[in-house]
């Protein structure tokens, strides 16, 4: 714990140290700049970043403090990421169950599932948004945030599918044969052996899936220009960085908080399922 704070202090020290002693135009090798310019414009002081958070977001008189705006945006994004995580988990789990039940399904689907992760989601963001805007059931219209959630779930389902499959296949030979001698069918075996045994694997994939859902949310929000989320703010404030450099760091902290909160959600799930985590390897 103390060492963790020390680590953070080391990072801050490196940042400020570079600002103090680093070259004005950064470290340039040929055409490429490897290290940034050590100016106040490119690299605001750490304390400047902190104080900027306490100031109002914009120069408008009704503007709320920056930290509040960021926090609200982060919470909105958290909600969307959680929806994406939930959908991705359900889909991933369903795929894992199918692949465990039918080896043919595993052979046929798993390569494509692995391949799906090489497809950059930004290609689909406008597509999903436009499809969504065409969907209307009665008075209800597809909201923009759902497009973001769909993309987040696309990134989240892969680790869950792979991890849950491994978990469902983790019971020992003895355990599976024991249940065969009990003449227990597929569903009782699933409920009593496979699913509980899969919990530790599922949890570790949920951690990966949560991080992936957050990335998907942030990038999709930026791509669709979803104003309430933190993704759009990253791009927006980043664009204003030449005028207000410390402000551009605020959504980055917000995104970090978002990631940590999402990890916290998974931690809570882990606590709820702790009964099935006995004998989990650390």
């Amino acid at each position: 714990m103390v060492a963790g704070v020390l680590g953070l202090a080391l990072v801050v020290a490196l940042w400020e140290g570079y600002k103090q002693f680093g070259p004005e135009s950064g470290w340039v090798i040929g055409e490429a700049r490897i290290l940034p310019r050590a100016t106040d414009l490119a690299m605001p002081h750490v304390w400047e970043m902190v104080t900027r958070l306490l100031e109002p977001e914009t120069s408008a008189s009704t503007s709320s403090p920056l930290w509040l705006v960021i926090l609200q945006a982060a919470l909105v994004s958290l909600g969307i990421a959680c929806v994406g995580l939930l959908v991705g988990t359900v889909v991933g789990l369903a795929l894992a169950l199918a692949m465990d039940r039918f080896q043919v399904a595993e052979h046929g689907l798993l390569p494509w599932i692995v391949l799906s992760q090489t497809v950059p989601l930004i290609a689909f963001a406008p597509m999903v948004k436009s499809w969504g805007s065409n969907i209307a059931i009665g008075a209800w219209e597809w909201p923009a945030w759902m497009s973001v959630a769909v993309i987040a779930s696309y990134l989240a389902f892969f680790p869950v599918a792979v991890g849950a499959l491994r978990g469902l296949q983790s019971p020992t030979v003895e355990q599976r044969e024991l249940f065969r001698t009990y003449d227990a069918g597929y569903w009782p075996t699933l409920r009593k052996v496979k699913l509980p045994a899969a919990v530790p694997y599922l949890l570790s994939s949920l951690r990966l899936a949560a991080a992936a859902a957050v990335v998907g949310t942030v990038v999709a929000e930026g791509s669709i220009a979803y104003l309430d989320g933190i993704g759009r703010k990253l791009i927006g404030y980043g664009g204003q960085a030449s005028g207000d450099p410390a402000k551009a760091w605020a959504p980055i902290f917000g995104a970090a908080v978002l990631g940590l909160l999402a990890a916290g959600v998974v931690w809570l799930v882990g606590v709820a399922l702790r009964r099935y985590r006995r004998g989990e390897a650390t």
Binding site: Q175, E177, Y182, V199
Partner: protein
């Protein structure tokens, strides 16, 4: 054993007919294998795991299968359990097919690894077969308490498997195997992963339990003293292809007390020697 005029078992003949303890007709054998052959496909081609096995186990009889690796003893037990199907021949359990017997839950089984579910307590682990077969909760709790007492784990019912020693875990597995009062127990080297002292203790306990429940037992083992100590007949097998070399009757029926005195007796040592010689003998070398 009562001589009812039918072929009796002597130390010379590898006879396999069951004898009943009372009455004139032979009782339905607990296990009956006739002409059983089993082949596996492997990278090296077809492996003949078992060739032409004939064996009968009487109700309430304790029979051990012993032999070197690859002799097919585990395969034989698994055929009885309906975990494998024979390539040829018939396997009958209490007069039914092995599949029928499995569906009717006529046997209980224990492996070398206890296969306990880590997230369930001792009590819940013992209860697994009872849950699966829809036994009422009250009856389940009663039965689990009986079984825990039977194997001496009454004080540990709330513990989890990772809190138990290997010997205790196997006791849970045995309690679980006895949950539905089966008339047949199938055991595949259940004490193989334990130390010698725990082994001997559990052998004594197993004998007591079996005597109490009157179940027939097919017990696979690597250990000669274990086979002799526990069984009425020791079936010696040899590999390539798997077959029965000899059957050594021990004369140690259910009425014989299993204790340290028995382990030290001269008759015990003689039997161990007999089995050892049978293991070293070439198949077909006869008596």
């Amino acid at each position: 054993m009562i001589d009812d005029g039918k072929a009796t078992v002597t130390s010379d003949s590898p006879s396999t007919t069951p004898t009943s303890e009372s009455g004139d007709e032979p009782a339905t054998p607990a296990v009956s294998l006739a002409g059983v052959t089993k082949q596996f496909a492997s990278k090296q081609g077809q492996v003949q795991a078992l060739a032409d096995i004939d064996l009968s186990v009487a109700p309430g009889e304790f029979v051990s299968l012993i032999g070197p690796s690859g002799c097919g003893k585990s395969t034989l037990m698994r055929l009885v359990a309906d975990l494998e199907t024979p390539s040829a021949g018939t396997v009958q359990v209490f007069g039914k097919t092995a599949t029928r017997a499995r569906k009717d839950q006529d046997y209980g089984i224990a492996f070398q690894q206890s296969g306990l579910l880590a997230w369930r307590t001792v009590a819940d682990n013992i209860a697994v077969p009872l849950e699966l077969h829809k036994v009422s909760r009250r009856r389940r709790q009663e039965r689990v308490a009986e079984l825990a007492a039977l194997v001496g784990l009454e004080e540990f019912t709330g513990h989890y498997p990772d809190q138990l020693s290997g010997g205790m875990q196997q006791r849970v597995a045995i309690a679980r195997a006895l949950a539905e009062q089966p008339r047949l127990l199938l055991m595949d080297e259940p004490f193989g992963a334990l130390d010698e002292m725990t082994r001997e203790r559990l052998q004594t306990e197993l004998s007591r339990l079996v005597r109490k429940t009157g179940a027939a037992v097919v017990f696979v083992t690597h250990s000669i003293p274990e086979a002799v100590f526990l069984s009425e007949r020791v079936v010696v097998m040899s590999p390539r292809p798997g077959r029965i070399t000899r059957i050594v009757p021990t004369g140690l029926g259910p009425d014989v007390v299993r204790d340290e005195v028995l382990r030290e007796s001269e008759r015990f040592y003689e039997l161990v020697t007999e089995v050892r010689e049978a293991l070293h003998a070439r198949p077909g070398a006869g008596s």
